[in-house]
Amino acid sequence: MIEWTGAIVQGVLLGGLYALFAAGLSLIFGVMRLVNIAHGDLIILAAYMGLTTTVMLGVHPFLALLIVMPLMAGLGYALQRGVLNQTLGDDILPPLLVTFGLSVIIQNALLEFYTADPRKLPGGAVETASLDLGGITVGVLPLLTFGIAVAVIAGLQFVFYRTSLGRGFRAVSDNQDIAQLMGLNKAHVFGLAMALALAVVAIAGILLGMRTSFDPAIGGGRLIFGFEAVIIGGLGNLWGTLAGGVILGVAQTLGAKIDPGYQILAGHIAFLIVLAVRPNGLFPRVEH
């Protein structure tokens, strides 16, 4: 019994990481209806950037965030203004296919530069430290990851609903023409949204890299986990996305408990069940 409870707790904490994968995806879709197929590859790119930073400067991965986050945000802004803004419109094909091309480019650039060997970020003591919560042993890193996920989502929520930047995001999302009349340059606003999303991606990438080993090919899988968390939670609801990540994480750890081969499969099946029973997700956005 305690074993199963342990698996559930691990799953909940894993869900925090998936919510971080999902948050950027959700933000971008909310502001500009863009689904970025390269999202997972960008997470892996951030992990590699963290690796290079820790190796070159000899700093802890958490400190590397100070460099990787602004770099990823800058990359996001440049990518949006340089490429992705040109794909936005009524037709869904251009953004989809362009980000798909981007995904292949990033994946192969990483392969060329870092080879296919699995790598890991050296987290030091925090990786192995654990706490005993009433008989259930919980790793400090997963706990920290979950805490960061909650903080990131609370932060995004604050930006979205309490700041001038967030008002701009929502206005552009509602009506691009009228927002432009209010002096908002939508190309710039979209650039800022992508910058913010990739800053979150940087956090997700570093935490992923400390938790498990990674290689250039695993981006697609991270995109799928993030996507599943978004759909399970319900579109347009960031807290729902966290819940979606948790459900996905728990399904995976329970699946793994039955047979290690079932871990990922169990997550996909949970997603398909939600899609069958509640196609709008468990917590769709209610207009307030």
Binding site: D177, A179, L181
Partner: protein, 236 residues
């Protein structure tokens, strides 16, 4: 003669193969209030979209205080001090009443208009400020749309069909508020199908027909028959 606030010269506008405006020439002096009238499809909204930058044009087709703005983006035009109250209100549904007003002030131009002054003009909005803009009545939504444009402290304000779809009593209420707005020295262009309201407010009138100016004159000079003729395209 003082420099014109707005000058349109040989302004064309197209939607794909369809031409909506044909070589419009028009000049607005500072502080002037003009009415633009015309039937549905005459090109009134297209004119508004062309001035505000939602439709791009040749640079010199639209000049604002001598500066060519015809090719600018709408946000650049807004930053220069031109605000549009769009047809159909077009509030942001995800934003509350107060947030809709605040986003109007985003361009950050100095001037008399701020939240307090808008609430003074339309007190009902202060009571409703935390509500979703979609929960308001049509008239209240129009107040928000006007307030949102004023928050930008524009020098030139364009009103597109602000009486459309509103009850007569509400229209009267809105038009009662207009003199206190344009009294602030603003230049204004009022596009209306409600001719009586528009004429009462303005010193000059332009009548559009099929993308061309069919009639132009001082409000007190044009006769009812002339307007009818220009409006419907028949000799009265």
């Amino acid at each position: 003669m003082p420099e014109a606030t707005l000058t349109l010269s040989n302004l064309d506008a197209h939607y794909g193969d369809f031409q909506a405006l044909y070589g419009l020439d028009l000049e607005l002096a500072a502080g002037e209030v003009v009415a633009v009238i015309g039937a549905n499809g005459a090109g009134k909204t297209t004119l508004m979209r062309s001035i505000s930058g939602l439709l791009r044009n040749r640079p010199d087709a639209v000049r604002y205080r001598g500066q060519p703005i015809g090719a600018m983006r709408a946000d650049q035009v807004a930053a220069l001090g031109i605000a549009l109250v769009p047809e159909g209100r077009q509030l942001f549904p995800s934003l509350s009443v107060e947030e809709n007003l605040m986003i109007g002030g985003k361009v950050g131009r100095a001037g008399p208009w701020d939240l307090g002054k808008v609430y003074e003009l339309f007190p009902i909005l202060e009571e409703r400020k935390a509500q979703a803009s979609t929960s308001l009545s049509g008239g209240q939504q129009q107040m928000v749309a006007i307030g949102r444009a004023l928050m930008a402290n524009p020098d030139l304000i364009l009103f597109d069909e602000i009486s459309l779809g509103l009850a007569p009593v509400v229209i009267r209420q809105i038009y009662q508020a207009l003199p206190s707005i344009v009294g602030e020295g603003m230049t204004a262009m009022i596009v209306e199908q409600d001719i009586a309201q528009a004429l009462a407010m303005s010193s000059r009138v332009f009548c559009l027909m099929e993308g061309r100016i069919a009639l132009e004159g001082r409000t007190e000079d044009v006769t009812h028959d002339q307007i009818t003729a220009a409006y419907f395209g028949v000799e009265a």
